[in-house]
């Protein structure tokens, strides 16, 4: 497998406080990698640095290119996409317009309609509500729209920040099923989650982030049986 994305010794500071310290991780092509950890561990900060919304020290490599000095927009043009925790939808605009804007960074516009049809096939609910304003959708539908909008950019690496946050258990299961199915599209995924069990069940590889540092890593199927993790994050059973 070839390496899709890597972070080496990445440090992110808010003023003088280090929120993320010397973090190194990598995502192989077609792999789902998860970063789990408690609230405030620096998971969101890590993704914000990866997409370029926060400045960071260290090395960021995407498909062999050093992207550390690239703007957010340039990273998106290279097909590195983030679905942020707050979803950041265009709430006054229709579902269809939100999806269309997802494809904004694509120079070749010929496949946009086909991708849109694929997104609608994946999320029929969005097709039903395509004329509705994004702000009027339910929590689950908003997450579907955020995912669908990111897929419109034909991402090579999709970074998902807490996709299950604030959603009902049934919807969470549906969202994770969708994430797992994205593997078939050849999309690599970096998934940040507090819902450690669901994340590890979906992922191939996992990292545990605590107070800004990676404290443990390994194949997801091993981590899910790790005694310390079971006690700390997996609700021990």
């Amino acid at each position: 497998m070839t390496e899709m994305f890597s972070m080496t010794d990445v440090t992110v500071c808010y003023d003088n406080v280090e929120a993320v310290r010397n973090v190194s991780l990598s995502v192989e092509e077609g792999q789902i990698v998860t970063v789990i950890g408690p609230n405030g561990a620096g998971k969101t900060t890590l993704l914000m640095a990866a997409i370029g919304l926060l400045a960071s020290r260290g090395r960021l490599v995407f498909q062999g290119n050093d992207i550390g000095r690239m703007s957010v927009e340039d990273r998106v043009e290279h097909r590195l996409c983030l679905v942020p925790e707050k979803r950041e939808l265009f709430s006054d605009m229709s579902v269809a317009d939100n999806l269309l804007l997802g494809s904004y960074s694509l120079r070749d516009r010929s496949g946009v309609q086909k991708t849109l049809d694929e997104v609608y096939d994946r999320f029929p609910r969005l097709k039903e509500r395509q004329r509705q304003a994004a702000g009027t959708l339910s929590g689950g539908e908003r997450q579907m729209l955020a995912l669908g909008r990111a897929l419109m950019a034909k991402p090579k690496l999709l970074m998902l920040d807490e996709p299950s946050l604030g959603l009902a258990p049934l919807i969470v299961r549906e969202i994770f099923r969708t994430i797992a199915s994205l593997r078939d599209l050849g999309v690599s995924i970096l998934l940040v989650e507090q819902n450690a069990r669901a994340a590890l069940e979906t992922a191939d590889y996992g990292y545990v982030l605590e107070t800004g540092e990676i404290v443990q890593s390994g194949p997801a199927k091993d981590l899910i049986h790790d005694k310390r993790l079971i006690t700390a994050y997996l609700g021990g059973h």
Partner: protein, 347 residues
């Protein structure tokens, strides 16, 4: 006041309001995309009128020199910024957009001027010369402080207005101008005489508002501008560059202000400093729409125009006092409305 006089005042007010509406829509456009309350829009309108007057008098307008100076300054700032960020590969592109393009516009205007062009061409030339000013000012003044607070941006915007008034005096001189009417047509409707100029103003306002609506609703670039206005972070994550969206917004806004300047020039005498009142009255209109709604801004601006028209009939000296006093109840109403929307956001 008889009904005849009321009708004349209303028509006059609608025409003035339509001019304010164009500037108000431009103001809302810039504010939503860049968070800048661009006070100098009125100046852009006045400069367009002065530019057209100079072209009518077969003089090359001062706008040309202003564009050249601003283009050189903007290019210099862009080069420094590219050197600092180590992105020299973007230099040819920067030189094209900030130097070659504005200079080409001035060059084309200068060459066309020598051929003694007809009025329609002069109108296009005036608009061509005026549209680069706001995007260049954006690069020079606002881009370096784009992440500042709305208050900081507003303060700089007011300062920029005063700087432009000074430059206006330098480039256009102290004389007022009034251009030739765009049409001598007039008609009578329900016993009231309506001039072709008045009709042209209202039609132009409707056409440009309609075009803007189509642009926002049916083009990807238009939608990207709306997206930037609704959610800046979200739009960046789609690869939409806020700086580029800002430039497009400034170009469109300048065009709207330019058109309003051309429409007002045959009706009112325009001086180098006439822009302030136009801009401020459009701003009152824009506030009625909460600085975010285009129809709200247009309706507000037409309301301001009508109020001004009736106020000038009652007391010409106090017409501006009456118009600006309208701000107080509107701001109270708006502040109550915005409290309500903050509660909604928290939910």
């Amino acid at each position: 006041m008889t009904s005849d006089i009321a009708a004349i005042l209303a028509i006059d007010g609608i025409a003035t309001g339509a001019v304010y509406a164009l500037v108000a829509i431009g103001t809302v456009l810039i504010f939503t995309v860049t968070r800048v309350i661009f006070i100098p829009f009125g100046d852009i309108a006045a400069f367009t009128a002065l530019t057209l007057a100079a072209l009518d008098a077969k003089r090359f307008p001062g706008t040309g020199a202003l564009v050249v100076i601003l283009a050189c300054l903007a290019t210099l700032i862009e080069i420094i910024s590219l050197v600092r960020t180590g992105e020299l590969r973007l230099l040819p592109r920067a030189l094209f957009f900030y130097l070659v393009l504005p200079l080409a516009v001035v060059g084309i205007a200068w060459l066309t001027m020598r051929a003694d062009p007809p009025l329609a061409v002069r109108l296009v030339l005036a608009l061509m010369l005026i549209t680069p000013i706001a995007p260049l000012l954006d690069r020079i003044v606002f881009r370096p402080i784009a992440d500042g607070t709305v208050l900081l941006l507003l303060t700089v915007s007011v300062a920029l207005h005063f700087a432009l008034v000074g430059l206006g005096l330098l480039f256009f001189g102290p004389e007022g101008v009034r251009t030739e009417p765009l049409t001598s047509f007039s008609t009578e409707f329900a016993g009231v005489l309506i001039s072709g100029q008045t009709m042209l103003i209202v039609i132009a306002a409707l056409v440009f508002s309609g075009l803007l609506y189509l642009f926002f609703d049916f083009t990807l670039v238009g939608k990207s501008l709306r997206a930037t206005a609704v959610n800046r972070t979200g739009s960046r994550l789609m690869g939409i560059r806020p700086a580029r969206a800002g430039t497009i917004a400034y170009l469109l806004g300048s065009l709207m202000a330019g058109v309003s300047g051309i429409l007002i020039a045959p009706v009112n005498t325009v001086f180098y400093d006439s822009g302030f009142l136009i801009g401020l009255k459009a701003f009152v209109g824009a506030i009625v729409g909460g600085m975010t709604s285009y129809p709200g801004a247009a309706i507000g601006a037409v309301g301001v125009g009508i109020l001004e028209s009736f106020a000038s009939f009652q007391s010409s000296a106090l017409k501006d006092v009456i118009v600006f006093s309208l701000l107080i109840p509107i701001l109270i109403w708006r502040s109550l409305a915005s409290l309500h929307s903050e509660e909604e956001i928290e939910e």
